[in-house]
């Protein structure tokens, strides 16, 4: 076993002396991930990142109870798992290709018609969310958004800030220059007074569970 493999194995031993979720275990496992990464099998296939993500999860959950040092190094153990996940990924692609044919229907004469399903374009039907926010802020039915303002600056209220900051369009610097109020004061007010009202609006309108 190489020096690097021994170092990795020592770190794993250290990590496993501490319970899951403990700081020391987290630190050791993070270091092992760094050291093992360059030793992992690489393949330029689209499902590689998914297979690797599963491998890291497997590593962290099983290194302390599923890895047998007598059977080989940590990278060897992980590569075996990674390659099995890559095989799963490959199999899924093959299966998808084989079943992805246009559905066939038969008309009254027994002739096959190729039916290509189209997803109706619904984009035009529903008003975009940002427009709903804009309409609500402009209407301000209870007057609340206009009432809440920075002390001494009734013109800097939640209605104005929500509309100006919609789509992150107006920069904080531009607002600070225009009103002569420091950015920390503006953003602090926006976060404490305006953002909760935005969240509230979202909840009452059913956009957020």
């Amino acid at each position: 076993m190489s020096d690097r493999d021994q170092q990795i194995r020592d770190l794993v031993t250290q990590a496993c002396q501490h319970p899951p979720g403990s700081l020391l275990r987290q630190r050791y496992l993070t270091q092992v991930i760094r050291l093992v990464t360059p030793r992992l099998w690489r393949e330029a296939v689209p499902y590689y990142p998914d297979a690797l993500q599963k491998t890291w999860l497997y590593f962290c959950k099983n290194i302390c109870n599923g890895y047998d040092p007598t059977l080989g190094s940590v990278p060897t153990w992980l590569n075996a798992y990674l390659k099995r996940r890559l095989q799963d990924g490959y199999n899924a692609v093959i299966k998808k290709t084989n079943t992805e044919v246009a559905p066939v229907r038969y008309d009254k004469d027994g002739e096959a018609i190729n039916v290509i399903e189209t997803v109706p374009d619904r984009r035009g039907d529903v008003e975009p969310l940002w427009e709903k926010v804009r309409d609500w802020a402009e209407a301000d039915p209870t007057g609340e958004l206009r009432q809440i303002h920075i002390k001494g600056h009734p013109e800097v209220n939640c209605q104005v800030l929500i509309l100006r900051r919609l789509l992150s369009e107006t920069s904080w610097q531009a607002l600070a220059d225009e009103y002569g109020i420091a950015i920390p004061t503006l953003s602090s007010f926006y976060r404490r007074q305006c953002m909760p009202r935005l969240r509230n609006f979202g909840e009452t309108e059913g956009y957020i569970q």
Binding site: I33, R34, R165, P184, R191, M195, R199
Partner: protein, 306 residues
């Protein structure tokens, strides 16, 4: 030179479902600029969620503003809610970037900030580093970030909650991150005795918490003393250096902020000769106020609910 920070970075894969989620959120945005912002923010948040999952640290995407369609459209936030810890801001950076951008709407109410380098071509994200505070700056040089392990260290500490509930103190509770003066000033000779003689012993409750200034300055102790009255609560705030015989640095400012208007109602500034700063106010149950400590570009806020 960002060679150092990339050495200690941690690279993790961006799965197909990660990229699809990011694309779905981006597709709901009306402008290309917003779509790009939301897509990258989402990838950074997902990367941190996966990493924290590997580390057995629970996270709650559904409770995060970054997962909220209204907040996505109205603000530039990439937060990840960590139950019992707070919100972690996960800022995306491009390969080759020298700074981490930090929008002002994320300057408060964050347990810390991570820079996550997104390399979409390689379907890979790298956690570059962590910083617990940004001090009212819109960009943080990557060279100021500590390695990702610093995030683990920070989360492992008992962190004070964003809002301290003073009424629970009257029932004898000690909130996480707060301590009795005996514990805070340890060894006891650090405690300036004259300042701590209780003015009204009996129904006064007092707790303190450590404030780290950095900048080679001694740590501070924020002491809060509350005394309930029939109609209101008397509150005394004091700011002391935690080092023996130290003075508060010149320019250190202590302020009480009215949360309803985000403006200061009382403030005191150290001239370099004071042993401590003190502010008093009377409040009623249910009221909320914040205490801000300002030193150079560092701004710390502690919110109280009476």
């Amino acid at each position: 030179m960002t060679y150092g920070i990339h050495d200690s970075g941690l690279s993790l894969p961006l799965s197909l479902s990660d990229r699809q989620t990011a694309q779905t959120f981006a597709a709901q945005q009306p402008t290309p600029a917003k779509a790009e912002q939301v897509r990258l923010n989402t990838l950074a948040v997902l990367t941190m969620q996966h990493y924290l999952d590997l580390m057995d640290i629970p996270s709650d995407l559904a409770a995060s503003d970054s997962w909220n369609p209204i907040m996505q459209v109205c603000t530039d936030v990439a937060d990840l809610e960590l139950p019992t810890k707070g919100r972690l801001e996960c800022r995306p950076v491009q390969p080759g970037a020298q700074v981490m951008p930090v929008p002002p709407e994320t300057w408060e109410d964050r347990v810390g900030y991570v820079a996550v380098q997104i390399d979409e071509a390689a379907a890979e994200a790298t956690i570059l580093g962590f910083v617990p505070l940004v001090s009212d700056r819109e960009t943080i040089p990557l060279s100021e970030l500590a390695p990702p392990e610093a995030l683990l260290d920070h989360l492992a500490q008992p962190l004070p909650q964003a809002i301290a509930h003073l009424s629970t103190w009257l029932q004898g509770a000690i909130n996480t991150g707060w301590q009795t003066l005996e514990e805070l000033f340890n060894p006891p000779q650090l405690a300036p005795a004259y300042a701590f003689r209780l003015r009204h012993p009996g129904n006064t409750v007092r707790q303190g918490r450590r404030i780290v200034l950095g900048h080679n300055q001694p740590d501070l102790a924020l002491i809060v003393e509350i005394r309930p009255q029939p109609e209101q609560v008397e509150i005394i705030l004091q700011l002391h250096p935690l080092e023996d015989r130290a003075q508060l640095p010149h320019g250190l400012n202590l302020a009480i902020i009215d949360d309803a208007t985000a403006t200061p109602i009382l403030t005191a500034t150290a001239t370099g000769t004071e042993d401590f700063l003190e502010l008093q106010l009377d409040g009623t149950f249910g009221e909320q106020f914040s205490v801000q400590i300002h030193y150079n570009d560092l701004r710390l806020t502690q919110t109280f609910l009476i």
